[in-house]
């Protein structure tokens, strides 16, 4: 009933290859955008922004990035925490070295720097695959964290070894620093999420996406039809790291305000991102959002239910929360190995016929 294609004739290839070919889908997408840009900034409060919305948006960018690498190009990476750190430290250095330049550009340049670092650590992917590649990207994770810990230049020789973001403004509104208002920070991140998602979608539905997926599905056949595996894999690493770098920059500068590399961008972060991508659905932009939402919202929801709803002591709840999340992830992956995106796809197939399935 909702996702009906009947009567919706495509007469050009442009119509046929658009992101949301079904009318209902397209309007729903416009509605989500309208609410995100037009309604939420006015009703946002600190708790919602810091507990749910900001981390969700930022993790969504990182998950999109990792999904391009793991889901589309089939190269497993456990280095995403390290790449986020590159983005964070790059913005920090840029913000402190060039205070006159708008932070918007700092974040993008930080993404670019992360892309270069990503390509460098992507080089082993030309020789090794699968688990072995995962291990070699783990080396990137450890090396980068060590680097940012040990070389004082990266944290401007501060005594604590921490980096903290100075106040920077966009159109006169503070985005970073203690005076930043929540709705500004939210909008700033939202702009990046929207642009990232659109770019990722455009890349994955076109020639680059086909090159990546060809390498993922069967690298030998991909090479035979003319895909240069070196170029395909390295562009995947570059684009993926670009987004992860932007996410790292936003995570540090806008969300946290200050960071210490080992705590913030450790292996835990790498695994968290990988879980988001797997739970959300490999090879799906929507899945990246769904996975990020799942892992950001679930702990908040559980905390509210256990502490506020059932009146458990906070520390007991905190421990059980981890157990419950772990259990849910396992149950979920057994029930639907292809992630939330697949559930969504199945639901759409069903909705096309509803309420007359025969």
């Amino acid at each position: 009933m909702f996702y009906r294609e009947a009567g919706d004739f495509k007469t050009t290839y442009a119509d046929d290859s658009q992101t949301f070919p079904i009318k209902f889908d397209r309007y729903r997408y416009y509605l989500v955008l309208a609410v995100a840009f037009g309604v939420i900034p006015f009703i946002i409060n600190d708790y919602w922004a810091n507990a749910v919305l900001l981390p969700f948006l930022i993790y969504a960018i990182a998950a999109i990035g990792l999904n391009i690498l793991v889901g589309y190009a089939g190269q497993v990476s456990l280095g995403s925490g390290g790449f986020m750190a590159v983005g964070a430290y790059a913005t920090y250095k840029l913000m402190t070295s060039f205070p006159d330049v708008n932070i918007f550009f700092h974040v993008i340049i930080a993404g670019g720097i992360t892309a270069l670092v990503g390509v460098m650590f992507g080089l082993p992917s030309l020789r090794i695959k699968g688990f072995y590649l995962a291990v070699s990207t783990l080396a990137a994770q450890f090396f980068l964290v060590w680097l940012f810990n040990r070389v004082p230049w990266f944290y401007n020789y501060s005594a604590s070894g921490q980096i903290s973001s100075p106040e920077r403004t966009v159109f006169g509104y503070a985005v970073t620093g203690p005076n930043a208002e929540t709705w500004v920070a939210y909008l700033f991140c939202l702009v990046f999420v929207t642009i990232s998602a659109i770019i990722a979608r455009n890349l994955t539905r076109g020639a680059s996406g086909r090159r990546w997926m060809a390498i993922r599905d069967m690298d030998i056949a991909a090479e035979i039809i003319g895909v240069n595996p070196l170029k395909a894999k390295l562009t995947a690493f570059a684009v993926s790291s670009f987004f992860i770098g932007i996410a790292g920059a936003l995570f540090f500068a806008v969300y946290l305000g200050s960071a210490e590399v080992g705590d913030t961008f450790g292996t835990t972060k790498s695994f968290l991102l990988l879980f988001m991508v797997i739970i959300g659905g490999l090879g799906s932009i929507f899945g990246s959002f769904a996975g990020a939402a799942f892992l950001v919202v679930l702990p908040v929801l559980l905390k509210n239910v256990l502490v506020a709803g059932l009146g458990w002591p906070t520390d007991t709840a905190a421990h059980l929360e981890i157990l419950i999340i772990g259990g849910l992830i396992i149950t979920f992956l057994i029930a639907e190995p292809h992630g939330l995106a697949q559930l969504w796809r199945v639901a759409k197939e069903k909705l096309r016929l509803w309420p007359f399935p025969h």
Partner: protein
């Protein structure tokens, strides 16, 4: 061994059914391919003319697939030369060979299972898509234009192979026979000068074989594509091909028109065995 190959080694010739065949397109000169101590191909020379259907046959393990892999750049032979369009080809990676206009299908289907039929066939056009990352990211200008131009070519091939109805179906859901056809579509999408088919009829029933034979002949006829194929079904080989190379244990034991090859004593021995009494 037949002398026919000498007669027509350089210029064109006319086939039994009256088709005009062009000059030599690809020439394999004294190819030897070894894997460690195993000699897969030993000192084989043959050529492929422009516009002909050339079959490579032989018992299992004769080195036919290895030969195809040499042509498509998977293996670089230890000895011998590959000449393509009158120029000696240096050692190349498979994707460089693809850029030269050589496409192939595989014995065990090698489609991209996670993609739709349309996307799979579109991958065949990747060598023609040169737009940069930035244009692609914005889906504007050259990237968009390229996408739709190539889509148009792909749609023609989808029509040609009669797979319109499954255009948007994920490949993993298709039955075997259709997968084979999609793989042919992907190879054709590259508009190759030389099309290599590794056992295009393997595992098919008679009807599917007839369909596939018709497609192969149509491709050769309508697009003028030169075809080299490996096949075990002798009936199909003899009906389709203009000239046949026969291999056994990595050596060439026969070369010529189907009729000549069938009359060749070495070929008969290889296929039926030799009596020792």
């Amino acid at each position: 061994m037949s002398d026919n190959s000498q007669d027509i080694s350089q210029g064109g010739y006319t086939t039994v059914d009256g088709r005009k065949i062009g000059g030599v397109m690809m020439e394999m000169k004294n190819i030897t391919l070894r894997f460690g101590g195993v000699v897969a191909i030993s000192d084989i020379s043959f050529n492929i003319h422009e516009g002909e259907i050339r079959a490579i046959i032989g018992p299992n393990g004769a080195g036919k697939s290895s030969m195809l892999n040499v042509i498509s750049g998977f293996y670089n032979p230890q000895e011998g030369e590959v000449w393509f369009h009158g120029a000696k080809r240096p050692n190349m990676r498979p994707y460089q060979v693809a850029e030269q206009g050589i496409a192939r299908t595989f014995q065990n289907i090698a489609l991209f299972e996670g993609m739709s039929v349309l996307d799979n066939v579109m991958t065949g056009r990747l060598t023609k898509m040169k737009s940069g990352m930035f244009a692609q990211a914005l889906w504007k200008g050259k990237a968009e234009q390229e996408e739709f131009e190539n889509r148009e070519v792909v749609e023609k091939i989808i029509d040609f192979l009669e797979i319109q109805a499954i255009r948007k179906t994920p490949v993993a859901r298709l039955p075997y026979g259709l997968k084979k056809r999609v793989e042919l579509a992907r190879a054709l999408a590259a508009e190759p000068k030389l099309l290599l088919l590794d056992e295009p009829m393997a595992g098919m029933n008679v009807e599917e074989k007839e369909d596939m034979s018709r497609f192969i002949l149509d491709v050769n006829d309508e697009f003028g594509t030169t075809i080299a194929l490996i096949e075990h079904d002798m009936g199909v080989v003899m009906d389709l091909s203009d000239r046949v190379v026969v291999m056994d244990y990595g050596r060439k034991i026969g070369d010529g028109t189907p009729a000549e090859v069938l009359a060749n004593q070495d070929v008969i021995d290889a296929y039926l065995g030799v009596s020792h009494d």
